[in-house]
Structure formats: structure tokens, C-alpha cells
């Protein structure tokens, strides 16, 4: 047997040092090690802590969390093990949200701008209330309430408030999911998103949606992914996305289609399955009904040339998907963010029909409606089309008062809508928030808002776990008052309570009351996870657990139709700059900042991006071979220009992105946002072109083409990875890879052989060295 130095060391390390020397002296090695009699301070645990169960709806899709509180201070946020959505697990964003509570940049008092040209000046809450009332008094019928898509009672308070003043309630989501909701509705006939029984699926086929990173309910999906991998016949994940996301990295088969051709790919897979007769004729018939228009244009070779994926790979995906059932297909994210987004997602979800995955274990599991009559189980942003006309209204001076909360609309809107100019024409712009954001630059009244850790509320997870769930939110720390040396933060109020105080009181007096009334109603149903003799005890029980759920209350769905129109892969041609060398722009949600709502948190800022390991900045992911051809090196400052603007980013070439595609994270480029966020990186949302999904009018945020130019400067990318591209220099070190059924020892042996072969270039010698 031939040893390399590594193995030689391993042997001597274990035997020589460990056994021979010390055994000979009769002294085990450990005897020589003196256990130090000093303790580290961590050995002495002081104080008592309390863990409160609550929800953080603005930062998750309804996960249940526990907040550790000591002496009135929140210390840590973890998953709530009782909660059925995330089952005690977390994402990289939980604790970052905690830092918003203690942000040194929290707005401390209400602020007023006396004239549009003036500065914001601090005022008292009494003055603010008066100003707010005036703004409402003049606004009858000309009021718009803008929030992030809020689930639970806060969302319904916002919408009822708008209704009371004959105004509009318009949730805004820069990374729109409207196409997804539309497609789900058309295929499954369901309003709220279904869940995917990944835990029990043999094969998962996903498109565009980075469900392990940022899409949907990542903590829930993460838990399910763990179970998916734990199955005795380990699950197989196929993921289609033009760049390497977390999900693509976890995939057993990664397909990187030309952006916008995800629907073609799905139908190409379907046609392989049908042509090869891999599924039952009944399923094929059902599929034909669902997808009107047939699969004439979707022969595998045609699809291969349109999507840029080899026939082999498409066939491999199709066979695996059809043969290893239960299998489930889903998509979203960038796959739906094209002019043909609805078609793409419709085609993708229809694949479930082909493998009979609807309403079944390991397939698509529908979710039931809301447990509360007046609260929707679903929340999504208004389509971009609606926004364009709304903002035109603002610009035209038709809207008297705009109330904005939970979303930095100035940061989130593309340049094309000229949001700043429009806000200038609105007489009363009232913005709620904890930390100064870009929208507040256009606010007439800024109101400091309490965070989710200081307020009451409910949350209805979307997607839920397949049965009815209500999450509760409670103040786990006392609302913080004025600044002082002890670091207390801000004289803020809750958004819901402020609206309620301004309203006629017909739908509640305070969020606390609304929540307890709602829970009391729930108690009356006598269903679910908490049973108690009185409503009061019930409410306490629910609050303690962080929510209520009824596992017997399940959803149902009916197979609908995928629209026949827009079948052809139609990539935004008008977005093209008309040159040969333009790139498809693939914006993606930052794993730590999301769309930027966590940018004020230093933990979120510093967290390495999983793929590039970069932080504190905006970088552009470009295929490494292509970059080499173009003379682009890591850290080159790149000018990314679209038809609607230009941004500067740092180049990060890597092999995990399709040539011709440039991936840029969303979330930076704030003018304001506290010391950790302001003037940092650039905002890719600003250069999105005015392209919409043809069905829903949603913003086709992945349908922009850009030209890439070097600015001629080069800086260090702030990243955690060292200064060389990290590729293993020895097979299996440090990540040992085994095949199915292979032991680590066998894999190590094979790697050793591989290493010798590669290293010495002498296959024979390695062979003969037995």
C-alpha cells in the first residue's frame, strides 16, 4: 500500500504518538494533560431567563419563534418547537430582526416636515396625532394605505382603516408573488398557497424558487428537506434556476435554463414522460385537460434548444420525476417573474397532475382557509400594473394622503415609475417605521413604530403546514421609552394601535383587544390544539404556545386549468439593449437582508452570502469562464446598465451561474437606513425595466436585460472566503462525498486512488501498489 504524507501522518498520529510512546511509558496521553483548575466564566450561569412564544410576521411567512428575555431585555430569537410551521427551527434572519429592536438608529420621536422643501423636525405625539387627523379629514376617498403584505389581524386592520375612509389598501412587495398566487389559483382552484409534502416525496422538482433560502417558508421547507434526506430511500431533488441558489446547491440535479424558459422546460419534461409512457394514461388524460393546447411545440429537442439544457438532462429529470414517486413539482421566484410568468408557473404546477401528486402524501397539500372570518389566509402585493396607475394618480395630485408602513416603497420601486416625483405631489405622506428609510425622505409625517417584539398581533402562515394554524404575537419586552443612558430606545407606537386610535373604533379599540377577542371566538369553536374552560385561560394557553392549530381542519383543492395562451418562451425582448453582449439580469433576494428590510441590522449585513460568502456590499455573480473571456476579475467594479438605469457592483465570478446571466442580490443601495445600511452597495431593483407578466400584470422582475462594463477600478470584495477560489485540492477533503450505499471508508479509498492517479499521472503504479 502506497501512502501519501497525509495518510502517513494519520497513521503516525494515531499509532505512534498515541499508542507506542505513551503505552511504552505506561502513561496514557491524557494523564499528562493537567485539567486546569480555572473555570471559564461561562461555567457559572447567572440570572433567570424567560422564553416567550410569539411570531415575526414581517420577516417570516408565519414561523413561530421563542424570544429569550432576561431582565426585560430580549436576547435571542429561536424557533418555537411547538409551532407546526418551523418546528423549532430557524433561518439566518431571526436574530437579525432582534437587532432592529435595539438598533442605535431607531427613530426616537414623531417627526414633521412643515413644507415639502423643509426638513423633518421632532414633534410630540399630541402634535403628530393632530397632524394625522387633519390628513385623514381631508382625505376622504383620496387615501391610500400602503404596507408590506401583512397576514393576520394587522393586515385586516389596515384594510378596514382604508375602507373606513373610502381609501385604498395596497400591499406592496417589490419581489412580487402575484403570479404565483394566480397560477396556484388556476391550477388548484385555491386562494392560498398549498404546501408541499417534501418530507414524504421521493422526488422534488422545483423551478426558480429558492425555497431553501428565501422563497416561501424556508424554515418550514428546511425542516422538511431534512426529513426528505432522512428517508430510507433518500429523496432526489431536481432544481431549475439560472444561477446557483441554496436550493440549486442542494439539488442532486441542477438545471440552469435560459431565464424565462422554465415553462418550456416543464412541458419538455412532461412530453418526455408522456412519450416514454412513464405515467398512467389516466394521469396523461388529466394533464391534457389541465394543459389545453397540447404539447406540439414541446418535443424534447425543441425544448433543449430553447432552454439551453441538454436533452440528456431533461430526460434524466423526467424519468426520475415520473419513476420515483411520490413526486412533487413547484416553482415561483424568478420562474414567475417574466412576461410569460403565469404560463411558466402554470406549466410547472400542472406537472403535479401528470404524476398524480395533488392532495396526496408526498405531493401538493392544499391549505384550508383562515380560522378567522375577517382575516384572509393569504397576503400578496398588488400587481405592478395596479401600482403604475396608482402612482400615476399620486403624480396627478388625485391622492390627498398616503400612509406607508413596513415597506420602503422608494427603494422597492423601479426607476420607471418615478415614485419620488409622485410622492412629492401627495400633500400628506405619512410613513411609519423603526429606522429611517428612503421613503421617509418624502414623508410629511414620520411616526416611530414599535417592532414585532413590542406589539400584539396574529399571524396566519402562508403556506401553512396543510392544516389550520394561527400564530400569535405578543409584546415580549416593554415598549421602549425615551433615549437614556441605559440604552432604551424610542418613544414609538404600534402601527395597528395608531390606526385604531385614528379610526371610528368600529373594528376594535386596540390590537390587544382585537387579538383577545379573536382568540375568544376561537375558543368558542371548541376545536384545536388548546382546550380550556374559559376564554381567558384559552387565550393564555394559546399565547404561551405561540399559537393555535387544528390538525383536523384541512384544505381541499380542485384541479383547474393552465391557461393555454403565452406558451412560447417569451423573453422580454423590449428590455433588450439591442446589443449582442447583453446579459439576462437575475436579481435574487439576499439570504440575510431579504429585500432590504433587514439592512439596518449589522448581523444581517455581516452574514456571508451562502454562495459568494460576500457581505456588506452588492456583488454580481457572473460565470467564471465567461468572466475570464471578458477580462473580468473578482472585485472589478462593474457598471450594470439597463434601459432604466445604471448601478455599480463588484464582480464575483464563480462557476455556478449560467453564462449570459448575471446574478445580483437585492437588499442594498439604501440612501438611508441607519449607520449599517446607508450608502452601501447598490439597489438592483431600481434598474428593473417596465415589463409585466401578461396575465396578471405583475412586475416581471427577472425580465431585464443589462449591459456589463468594467468601471476600471478594482476593490476587495468583503467576503469570508479567503483570497483564492475555494476548490478542494484533494478529492474528499474536507467534504467527503459518498455514493448511495457507499461507506465513508470506501469513498476515502476511492479518493485516495483518484488522488494518486491525478497526482502522479501514473495509473499503473497506483494499481500495482497493493
Amino acid at each position: 500500500m502506497k501512502l501519501n504524507r497525509r495518510e502517513f501522518l494519520a497513521l503516525t498520529g494515531k499509532t505512534a504518538a498515541g499508542a507506542v510512546i505513551f503505552a511504552a511509558c505506561g502513561l496514557p496521553e491524557r494523564e499528562l494533560i493537567v485539567q486546569s483548575p480555572v473555570d471559564l466564566p461561562e461555567d457559572l450561569v447567572r440570572g433567570e431567563d424567560a422564553w416567550y412564544a410569539t411570531s415575526m410576521g414581517d420577516f417570516t411567512n408565519g414561523d413561530g419563534v421563542l424570544v429569550r428575555v432576561m431582565q426585560g431585555r430580549a436576547k435571542k430569537i429561536e424557533g418555537n418547537p411547538d409551532h407546526p410551521v418551523n418546528r423549532g427551527k430557524a433561518t439566518a434572519r431571526y436574530d437579525s430582526a432582534l437587532q432592529l429592536l435595539y438598533s442605535p438608529d431607531r427613530i426616537r420621536e414623531p417627526m414633521l416636515r412643515y413644507s415639502k422643501a423643509g426638513n423633518l423636525v421632532g414633534i410630540t405625539w399630541e402634535q403628530a396625532d393632530t397632524r394625522f387627523r387633519e390628513a385623514l379629514a381631508n382625505a376622504d376617498g383620496a387615501l391610500t394605505v400602503v404596507t408590506n403584505p401583512i397576514r393576520g389581524h394587522l393586515g385586516s386592520v389596515a384594510s378596514k382603516f382604508a375602507e373606513q375612509f373610502n381609501g385604498k389598501y395596497m400591499p406592496f412587495d417589490p419581489v412580487e408573488q402575484g403570479v404565483l398566487h394566480g397560477a396556484v389559483k388556476s391550477v388548484f382552484g385555491q386562494d392560498q398557497l398549498p404546501t408541499f409534502d417534501i418530507s414524504n416525496a421521493q422526488t422534488v422538482l422545483s423551478f426558480g424558487a429558492d425555497w431553501l433560502g428565501t422563497w416561501g417558508s424556508p424554515a418550514q421547507f428546511g425542516v422538511k428537506f431534512g426529513e426528505f434526506r432522512e428517508q430510507s430511500d433518500r429523496g432526489y431533488l431536481i432544481h431549475a434556476e439560472p444561477r446557483m441558489s441554496l436550493t440549486a446547491a442542494a439539488a442532486d440535479l441542477w438545471l440552469a435554463p435560459i431565464p424565462g424558459t422554465e415553462g418550456d422546460l416543464a412541458l419538455g419534461i412532461a412530453s418526455v414522460i408522456i412519450d416514454e409512457g412513464l405515467v398512467s394514461p389516466q394521469n396523461v388524460a388529466a394533464f391534457d385537460v389541465a394543459v389545453s393546447g397540447g404539447l406540439n411545440n414541446y418535443g424534447v429537442t425543441d425544448v433543449a434548444s430553447r432552454t439551453g439544457i441538454s436533452v440528456d438532462r431533461i430526460e434524466m429529470a423526467a424519468r426520475r420525476f415520473a419513476d420515483h414517486t411520490p413526486a412533487v413539482a413547484f416553482g415561483g421566484g424568478s420562474a414567475g417573474a417574466h412576461t410569460n410568468g403565469s404560463f411558466n408557473l402554470g406549466a410547472i404546477y400542472a406537472l403535479n397532475v401528470l404524476v398524480g401528486a395533488i392532495d396526496s402524501a408526498g405531493g401538493v397539500v392544499p391549505n384550508p382557509g383562515s380560522a378567522f372570518g375577517d382575516v384572509s389566509a393569504s397576503a400578496t402585493g398588488e400587481p405592478f400594473e395596479a401600482w403604475e396607475s396608482e402612482i400615476a394618480n399620486w403624480r396627478a395630485g388625485n391622492v390627498e394622503t398616503v400612509i406607508i408602513r413596513g415597506t420602503d416603497i422608494v427603494h422597492g420601486m423601479p426607476n420607471s415609475v418615478a415614485i419620488r416625483e409622485a410622492l412629492d405631489q401627495v400633500p400628506n405622506v405619512i410613513v411609519f417605521g423603526a429606522v429611517h428609510d428612503d421613503t421617509m425622505d418624502f414623508a410629511d409625517l414620520v411616526l416611530p413604530e414599535l417592532t414585532f417584539l413590542e406589539t400584539w398581533g396574529t399571524d396566519i402562515p402562508e403556506p401553512g403546514p396543510g392544516y389550520q394554524v394561527v400564530g400569535t404575537q405578543q409584546p415580549v419586552v416593554a415598549p421602549t421609552i425615551k433615549r437614556d443612558e441605559s440604552g432604551l430606545i424610542s418613544n414609538a407606537r404600534g402601527f395597528g394601535d395608531t390606526l385604531l386610535a385614528m379610526s371610528d373604533g368600529s373594528y376594535g379599540s386596540s390590537m390587544e383587544r382585537i387579538v383577545s377577542d379573536a382568540l375568544s371566538d376561537l375558543h368558542d369553536t371548541g376545536r384545536g390544539s388548546v382546550s380550556a374552560s374559559t376564554a381567558k385561560l384559552f387565550t393564555n394557553g394559546v399565547m404561551q404556545r405561540g399559537g393555535w392549530w387544528d390538525t383536523s381542519e384541512k384544505g381541499s383543492s380542485s384541479v383547474g386549468k393552465v391557461m393555454a395562451a403565452k406558451k412560447n418562451a417569451e423573453y422580454s425582448e423590449t428590455g433588450s439593449l439591442g446589443t449582442g453582449d447583453d446579459f439576462y439580469l437575475a436579481p435574487f433576494l439576499s439570504n440575510s437582508l431579504l429585500d432590504g428590510r433587514l439592512a439596518a441590522s449589522p448581523w444581517a449585513q455581516q452574514t456571508p452570502d451562502p454562495v459568494s460568502s460576500a457581505s456588506w456590499s452588492t456583488w454580481a455573480e457572473i460565470n467564471s469562464i465567461e468572466a475570464k473571456d471578458l477580462g473580468i476579475r473578482e472585485g472589478d467594479v462593474l457598471l450594470i446598465r439597463s434601459n432604466s438605469g445604471e448601478i455599480e457592483v463588484l464582480a464575483y465570478p464563480h462557476p455556478g451561474v449560467r453564462p449570459g446571466v448575471i446574478g445580483i442580490p437585492i437588499g442594498q443601495g439604501h440612501k438611508n437606513g441607519g449607520r449599517y445600511a446607508e450608502e452601501r452597495g447598490s439597489n438592483v431593483l431600481s434598474i428593473l425595466v417596465d415589463e409585466k407578466d401578461s396575465e396578471t400584470g405583475a412586475l416581471a422582475w427577472a425580465a431585464t436585460r443589462v449591459r456589463v462594463q468594467r468601471a476600471g477600478r478594482r476593490v476587495k470584495v468583503p467576503k469570508f472566503e479567503g483570497n483564492v477560489e475555494a476548490r478542494p485540492i484533494e478529492p474528499g477533503v474536507p467534504v467527503l462525498v459518498v455514493g448511495i450505499g457507499e461507506t465513508s471508508e470506501e469513498a476515502e479509498k476511492a479518493n485516495h486512488y483518484e488522488y494518486q492517479k491525478r497526482f502522479l499521472g501514473k495509473e499503473k503504479e497506483a494499481d500495482s501498489n497493493e
Binding site: G13, I77, E78, P610, G739, A750
Partner: protein, 248 residues
């Protein structure tokens, strides 16, 4: 009822690399739990960021066969730790529960232990840690804030172990398997990180450790880590391809 005496536990971690999705939830959780100073942009750029657990990402192959492999790495709590003998002041030592302990108070900051550690999981405080006054509110009172000039690293969240152990002792019960979760293992959505007692043959980690995919990192150094890895699975890998099995 008797409770386990100090030393009857051997704490350890089993990391299933096949389940790690690289989400960094563990990294942020550890950051928050252990009062790790803010890794400012300057610190990141100068390769001085502190992350008691990090998720390394390795590239394999090129497009379209490119793969990104993630592996979480924290202190391996080696039974035979190369960081220990080199410390001139016994600021780092092995305790009776299988942990490598770092006593901040004794450390003089030679960084020798960091050179000794093959896993590069020791982090030096080049600067005094600073937080804006208001952010100090979230500091964990169970964990020391380290001054500049000293070494720090993953402690297996020893304060959590002690807290649960103290509770168990006063209640007169044994520490139940799974009762202690480190901040990282608690956060990890896929349960790639698993913490427990290797001395208990029935614990989850003891059972996982027997998986045929188990390996330890850099075993050539003979460090005998208390962190066991389970190999990543490549479902497309051809197993037992002639050369490997014929060799050896």
C-alpha cells in the same frame, strides 16, 4: 435519585453534511448567542471576522456541472487537541466532559494555539469589541464579552450545558437526551447539526455516529475530534467503480 457526576458526559456533535444547505442560520445564531463582536466591513476585508461556526463553500466542476458543497465547521473539541499543548499559560485545555475550553482571562494572545489548530476555528480579537450602547441590550449575560488581544472559539455553548445541568442537578434528574441544544444546532433547519452525549449509547448522536458515512475532518492529524461528520451523498455517483474496489 442520583444525577450524573461531572465527567460522565462526553459532549459532541454529529454534522450530517448531506443535510447542510448552507443557509447560515447556525452562523447568525452563534453570533447572537455568544456576544461575538460585529464583523464590520473592515474586519471582513482584512480576514479578521470572527465566526465560531462558519459554513465553507467549495466549488466542484464547471458549468453546467458545477456544484457548490457546503460544510459547517466549528471547533472540533479534539480529544487530542493540537491547540492545547502549545498554549504557554494553559488558557486552553481539555475538560472532563470532552470539551476544549478557552479561559479568556488567562489568555495572553500569542495566537500560537490558532497556528496549532488544523481546523482554523480559533479567532483572535484584533480590536476591542464595540457595540453601540443600545445594541448592548441584546448581549447574553451568560457569556463573557472578550476584550481585545485574546483568542476565542466555539465553546459548545458551555453556558447552556451548565444551565441545563444545574437545573437537572437541583431537580435530581439525569439530563435528558436532546435537552441541551447549542445555539447552532437549535437553529439548523434541516437538523444537519446534532448535539448530545457520546457517553450515552442510546443518545441520538451516539447512534448517528455509527452511520456508515461517518468521518472526521483532517484525521491525519490524529486529533480525535468530538465533532463527527457524516459524508455528503451524491446520488449520481457511481459506487464501486472497478479501480476503487480493486485497490487497497
Amino acid at each position: 435519585m442520583t444525577t450524573a457526576a461531572f465527567g460522565t458526559h462526553n459532549w459532541g456533535m454529529v454534522v450530517d453534511v448531506d443535510k447542510c444547505i448552507g443557509c447560515n442560520a447556525c452562523v447568525v445564531a452563534c453570533q447572537a448567542e455568544n456576544n461575538i463582536p460585529i464583523n464590520t466591513q473592515d474586519r471582513v476585508e482584512r480576514a479578521r471576522s470572527i465566526a465560531w461556526i462558519r459554513v465553507e463553500r467549495y466549488w466542484i466542476g464547471d458549468f453546467p456541472d458545477a456544484k457548490a458543497q457546503f460544510i459547517p465547521i466549528m471547533c472540533q473539541h479534539c480529544e487530542n487537541a493540537p491547540c492545547e499543548p502549545v498554549c504557554p499559560v494553559y488558557a486552553t485545555y481539555h475538560d472532563a466532559e470532552g470539551m476544549n475550553i478557552q479561559v479568556y482571562n488567562r489568555c495572553v494572545g500569542t495566537r500560537y494555539c490558532a497556528n496549532g489548530c488544523p481546523y482554523i476555528v480559533r479567532f483572535f480579537n484584533y480590536w476591542e469589541p464595540v457595540w453601540p450602547e443600545s445594541l448592548r441590550n441584546h448581549l447574553n449575560p451568560d457569556v463573557t464579552v472578550r476584550s481585545r488581544g485574546i483568542m476565542e472559539k466555539c465553546s459548545f455553548c458551555v453556558h447552556r450545558i451548565r444551565r441545563v445541568a444545574r437545573g437537572a442537578r437541583s431537580a435530581g434528574v439525569e439530563i435528558a437526551d436532546g435537552a441541551i441544544q447549542t445555539a447552532c444546532s437549535s437553529a439548523c433547519p434541516t437538523s444537519a447539526l446534532n448535539f448530545g452525549n457520546f457517553n450515552d449509547p442510546n443518545s441520538k448522536v451516539s447512534k448517528m455516529r455509527d452511520d456508515k458515512r461517518h468521518y472526521t475532518l483532517l484525521d491525519q492529524f490524529g486529533t480525535d475530534p468530538n465533532v463527527i461528520y457524516l459524508a455528503k451523498i451524491d446520488a449520481n455517483k457511481k459506487v464501486g467503480a472497478g479501480e476503487a474496489s480493486s485497490h487497497g
